[in-house]
């Protein structure tokens, strides 16, 4: 059920930066809250990390306590499963769907928005939207160069980050792609990246392309064959030079970032990739990475984005889902999420928009072992339509 942008939404959007909420908006929200009480929300989210699963369990207990909403975590191995399921339900004419809230971003969001598989717009009507850092973090409103239009609510930040086991690789950290090539030459077989179309592997490709291709603005525009042919040759040349020095000579690639991390932990690899800048710190605290691991980002900048939660068009508990989305954006939930003792996922909120009590919740996990010492600028993602051609070409060359 897609709704057109109404004047109400425009008014809300105008009020949001001022931290104001009109009275009618508050009344509408109260109605949603009372409708949500007693509902069960099926939250379809990736379940491959027990830390994240534990956080979601905590969120569920808080939601039950505060709003009487039951949150069921449906663990997915891949978000695309859910997309496929919602699409199949729409094709079968089902208005009662199996998912109420989904964890999503990027090309999956693009597909769902285009095919009318999403409920909304709802995100800008959430009470906690006024705290979201839409100025400092533009990716909260543009997802893979596609306007969000309130169809998904920002949840956390991600940025491509490398982590290296200093005990096994006593070399200076590479500062960019060129440095990476030198590092791999000096330490053959000790680095690899997940095989595309796994999205972190694809992000690595995008990172190299952004660094070498030179024209990041062109990447923000939709894909054209001409632009592809013009911009990507440096990427393939760099990979051709890099692959022989990778793990297994670049003929095989780990299937997932989790497998990659396991290999760094075991000592088979010395360097890995992740999308969560705090993941290494997180894993060290959880005793799944050795304490000698440090994180770093390419100095000029690395690709980053926001990840969101969205509501499928046929959600049975859309009110409950909105309440859940709102809670996930609340300072309480965001602070716990950012704490590396629990998850370490950076917040989407602007700390200066919060009151002093809320701001204090975000106290330090800074300086923990494994955290990034010198954060680099965030580069926006290329347009979502570049993903498939990049993956297809990579598979053609190296798959």
């Amino acid at each position: 059920m897609t709704m057109m942008l109404t004047r109400r939404h425009l008014l809300l959007a105008a009020c949001a930066p001022l931290g104001l909420r009109p009275a009618w908006a508050q009344a509408a929200w109260a109605a949603i809250e009372s409708a949500a009480r007693g509902q069960t929300v099926y939250f379809n989210a990736w379940g491959g990390s027990e830390r994240i699963n534990a956080y979601i369990r905590w969120a569920g207990s808080e939601l039950r306590r505060l709003h009487g909403v039951a949150l069921e975590h449906v663990k997915l191995a891949d978000t695309a499963e859910m997309v496929r399921r919602v699409r199949a339900e729409k094709a079968a004419g089902r208005s009662d769907g199996s998912a109420d809230l989904v964890w999503i971003n990027g090309e999956n969001f693009l597909a769902m928005k285009r095919e009318g598989l999403l409920f909304g717009p709802f995100a800008e009507a959430l009470p906690n939207y006024r705290y979201v850092d839409i100025d400092g973090k533009p990716t909260t409103r543009i997802d893979f160069a596609e306007p969000v239009d309130g169809m998904e609510a920002a949840w956390g930040m991600a940025q491509l980050t490398f982590y290296v086991d200093a005990a096994r690789a006593p070399l200076p950290q590479p500062t960019g792609v060129a440095g990476l090539l030198d590092w791999c030459r000096a330490q053959p077989g000790r680095f690899s990246y997940p095989k595309p179309p796994q999205f972190i592997g694809t992000t690595f490709l995008k990172q190299v392309l952004a660094e070498l291709g030179g024209d990041r603005a062109a990447l923000a525009r939709p894909y054209t064959a001409e632009a592809f042919a013009r911009l990507t040759p440096p990427l393939w040349t760099a990979l051709d030079r890099l692959h022989p020095h990778l793990w297994r000579g670049g003929l095989q690639f780990p299937a997932s970032p989790g497998a990659l991390r396991q290999m760094v932990s075991d000592g088979e690899l010395a360097m890995g990739l992740t999308f969560n800048p705090n993941e290494a710190a997180n894993e060290i605290a959880a005793q799944t990475l050795p304490p000698t691991v440090t994180s770093f980002q390419p100095r000029a900048g690395s690709i980053g984005n926001t990840h969101f939660v969205a509501i499928p068009f046929n959600a049975r508990a859309s009110a409950g889902a909105q309440v859940a989305a709102n809670f996930l954006q609340s300072p309480l939930a965001q602070a716990r999420k950012a704490d590396i003792r629990h998850w370490g996922d950076p917040t989407v909120l602007a700390l200066d928009k919060l009151g002093p009590a809320d701001r204090a919740l975000f106290s330090a996990s800074a300086g923990a072992p494994g955290m990034v010492r010198e954060p680099a600028p965030v580069w926006p993602e290329p347009h979502g339509s570049w993903v498939e051609p990049l993956e297809a070409e990579w598979l053609r060359r190296y798959g």
Partner: protein, 553 residues
Amino acid sequence: MAQAHVLSAGVRGGQALARVAAGLLFALPLAAAVPLALHEAADAGAWRALASDPQTLPAAWLALSSAVLGTAIAAALALWLTTALHGSPAWQRLSAALAPMLALPHAAFAIGLAWLVAPTGAIARALAALLGWQAPPPWQSVNDPWALGLTAVLVFKELPFILWNMAALLARPEVAADIERQVAVARTMGYDRRSWWWRVGWPQWSPRLAWPLLAVLAYALTVVDLGLIIGPGSPPTLAVLAYADLQAGSPARNARGAAATVLLALLLACTVAAVAVAWRVGAAAWRRAATRGRRPAPARHGSAGAGWAAPALQVVYALVGVTLLVLSVAGVWTFPAAWPQSLTLEAWRQVHAAADSVGFTAALAASASLAALVLTVAWLEATPPRWDRRASVLVLAPLVLPPLLLMAGLYQGALYLRLDGSWLGLAWVHTLVVLPYSFITLQPAWRSFDPRYEPVALALGRRRWAFWWRVKWPLLAAPLAASAAVGFAVSVAQFLATQFLGAGRHATVTTEAVTLASGGQRTLAAAFALLQALLPLAGFAAAAWVRRRTMHR
């Protein structure tokens, strides 16, 4: 010998009802699933995409080679072991050792074995201690591009299954007696036991292995979770490729995945046809060689190492079990340390927190195996033995249809019937999958039940229902319990069925394990793998207890 007594109208009606029920609940969904799945693959663009994908051909080759090689090696080993050990006490020991091996799920075994042979695994660390390595060796033992790791796991897991089928067949009293006398006759003619097997025994009995071997081949060709854990990565096997496509977000890729599953079915059909032709051609030549009359040299005695087979298999399985246990509590364990740098109970705490899914898995498996048992008994009671051959084809169909094809089709059907994500739909599909195993396990015992008991009981004035309840089924308690245990194990190990039909609403221990493995959480994956193994083991232990209780007569 046909049943000569007249059946009352009531019984005939009941039998007809049972047949209709079996047909509706079983045959109809199967028959509907295949066209639904094929419909998705009927897109020409999907086939073009499949043909133009450079991964398709190598992936198909890897799937075929690992499946055929794995099945062939397992079958050859099974034949060799039976030839060498049958008739001696070692055979009893081997047969007894098989049940726990069958109970360990394939995925769990793969996780353990993968760690044993990995470049940072147990064997590598042992060698590092001996040879002073500091860095892991550049082995390609796990996820190797030739699918050898996958083949090895298949051999280790399918060998007990084939042997178990063999043991069940050879243990039947009429078969066992017949074999012993044939062996006696052959020995008096100057042939030894082993010669008898190759010249007379196998040509006679190996056609009985056709269905189990077909099931093994079909499984090996279409297995997904094994391919994910230990199979090649670039390119993966065709089944893994198809699964990735079917789970992807874009409809074009879904269609390509559907086309790939149809391709898998075609590959299976072609392989079976090739084997059938080779069998025909080879059988005649084999017969000529077998009747050439050359007696074996007298000094060829001793089992040539086969006596070590049972202990060796048990050692491997025990090692895998211990590995899983250690992995489930290991924190950071960098090469070349012989013991983990840190131990953690986190994984088991999570398992404890996931107790709901354990209960759910057990309840689902119990219902599915019970329902399958009831259906199987109803079918066996209701149909005359001459229907069995036709029934076998139908009942065994789910074993040989690629599960991806079947599940995709059943999911489409469930969507229209609004059964997706419901407990009923899930239980129903699990029952469907369990039914062939239930039938295979129960049918031999049922058909070899002495048919004379029944007329005697009826002549004594008992009604047929009382006869079943008080005479027949208690006598068959051990096979019934074994069938239930097998069904229970099969249901617990189901991944695709729960994945598709549960629509994400329901999680079992197996889906949790595979999802966690997808995140690379080896500690958790090991803990869940152990959990995955414990449930069927409990089932088999219960069945063994029933068998011991009913043996003392």
